[in-house]
């Protein structure tokens, strides 16, 4: 196949499928609640025993306290990802906090937090 035709097909195909999914509302991020966050954490880390869960007011992330160690669960598109809170930096941002994991597979999570929840979260997840 001529390279220019292949290029048009690939670029047009990606753009078209992206536009169609976006127009169909498939770019809407998932919303978390406590039960959802608990079961998602168990899915990611079946060995952990969850003790308590704090979901952000925007429902996009949750702090998960377990018997083992605390963890952060966050929404990634229609799904979730979790990481234990070890080896990370916490950065103050204008509308919340950023968690910088020293992890090539999950480099940064921005947490949108209200002023009142920012202080609570800062106390709960400040690196030791």
């Amino acid at each position: 196949m001529p390279l220019e035709i292949l290029l048009i097909l690939v670029v047009g195909g990606i753009a078209g499928i992206a536009a169609l999914t976006w127009l169909a509302g498939l770019a809407q991020p998932r919303q978390l609640n406590e039960d959802d966050a608990t079961s998602e954490w168990a899915r990611h880390y079946p060995d952990d025993v969850v003790q308590s869960v704090w979901v952000t007011h925007d429902a996009r992330a949750a702090l998960v306290m377990t018997e083992q160690r605390p963890g952060l669960l966050w929404v990634m598109g229609a799904d979730t990802v979790g990481r234990h809170l070890v080896d990370f930096d916490l950065i103050d941002e204008p509308h919340g906090l950023s968690v910088i994991f020293h992890d090539y597979t999950a480099p940064k999570v921005h947490l949108h937090l209200d002023e009142d929840e920012r202080l609570v979260w800062q106390n709960l997840i400040t690196p030791q």
């Binding site: 097909l9 690939v10 990606i14 999914t21 060995d47 990634m76 598109g77 229609a78 990802v81 597979t105």
Partner: protein, 309 residues
């Protein structure tokens, strides 16, 4: 000896079919509200990985081709180009695929290339296109050497490999539940391949087949999809990024970090590159065997059931 032989690059010619099939699957899901899930960034990442795979083939394909033509010059055998020879080549290349794929899950160096194909938490036709950019660096081209030394022309072997990949495209779907029993017993199907993409302890390291599921049945790696346990797609440790560069290279970066750790002996460094994924010198990570053992400790009632035998 047949030196000049050309076959169409079937994967490139299949691109319009790939796009059309994705649009049909997506439309079906939107209308029926069943048969799978799509998410914009996940789909775009998968499609970019597919485009990158084609680009890496164009840029680096000469390495494998040069190696194959070197072998072709060496071998005194030439089986010709009849349809029967192409058919036998297709079956033997599928056996080759089974072993390369199995190595891809059991040797971290090869997993580093293959892992990106499993990195989506979705399972739809775009997932099929989430292909490696770094396959050349696994040196798995060596597994094709016996075919060429037996007298199958390199162009024919690559043609059969392309047909194999195209076959595997349509099985990346939740829109098809099960096919007729005779078909499920011989061919790789959406049901069998959903198992392969499952991160459930039960489904780890199962169903490596490309086209014929018989290889898994022959070599003891077949696990059927259970209606009571839906596959949970993705990686044991899922990625927290849609960035295609990170998707493509994250396991290579992981190998580099592990191999260059301070205080390791040379055996441990080598093991971090070639041992099964999850191996660690201090036992701080879990291989698939350990994940299965831990699952059985939590759920002893699963012992002896498919995937835990």
């Amino acid at each position: 000896m047949t030196d000049i032989l050309t076959y169409p690059d079937v994967v490139q010619w299949a691109v319009p079919f790939f796009i059309a099939a994705i649009l049909i699957e997506l439309t079906w899901i939107l209308i029926k509200h069943r048969g799978g899930r799509y998410e914009t960034r996940d789909a775009v990442t998968s499609l970019i990985m597919g485009a990158g795979n084609v680009a890496s083939g164009i840029l680096l394909g000469f390495i494998a081709w040069g190696f194959f033509m070197f072998l072709w010059e060496l071998t005194p055998l030439d089986l010709g180009t009849s349809l029967w020879v192409v058919a036998i080549c297709f079956v033997l290349d599928d056996l080759r695929y089974y072993w390369v794929h199995r190595f891809g899950h059991r040797i971290r160096w090869v997993w580093a290339s293959h892992v990106n194909h499993h990195s989506s938490q979705h399972y739809n036709l775009t997932t099929a296109l989430r292909q490696t950019w770094t396959g050349t660096f696994t040196f798995m081209m060596i597994v094709r050497a016996p075919l060429i030394l037996l007298g199958f022309h390199p162009a024919m072997v690559l043609f059969c490999g392309g047909l194999n990949l195209i076959y595997q495209f349509w099985i990346h779907t939740e829109a098809i539940h099960r096919l007729p029993r005779w078909f499920e017993s011989v061919m790789n199907t959406p049901s069998h391949h959903r198992v392969h993409h499952g991160r459930n302890a039960r489904y780890l390291d199962a169903n490596y087949a490309g086209v014929f599921i018989i290889w898994d049945k022959m070599f003891g790696t077949f696990v059927p999809e259970l209606d009571e346990e839906k596959p949970d797609y993705g990686l044991v440790r899922n990625l927290g990024t849609f960035n295609p560069i990170r998707v493509a290279f994250h396991e290579w970066v992981g190998i580099f970090h592990d191999v260059t750790r301070k205080g390791l002996n040379w055996k441990d460094r080598l093991m971090y590159a070639v041992a099964p994924p999850g191996w660690s010198h201090d036992g701080s990570r879990d291989t698939s065997e350990q994940i299965k053992q831990k699952h059985l400790a939590r759920h002893p009632e699963d012992a002896g059931t498919p995937g835990f035998q």
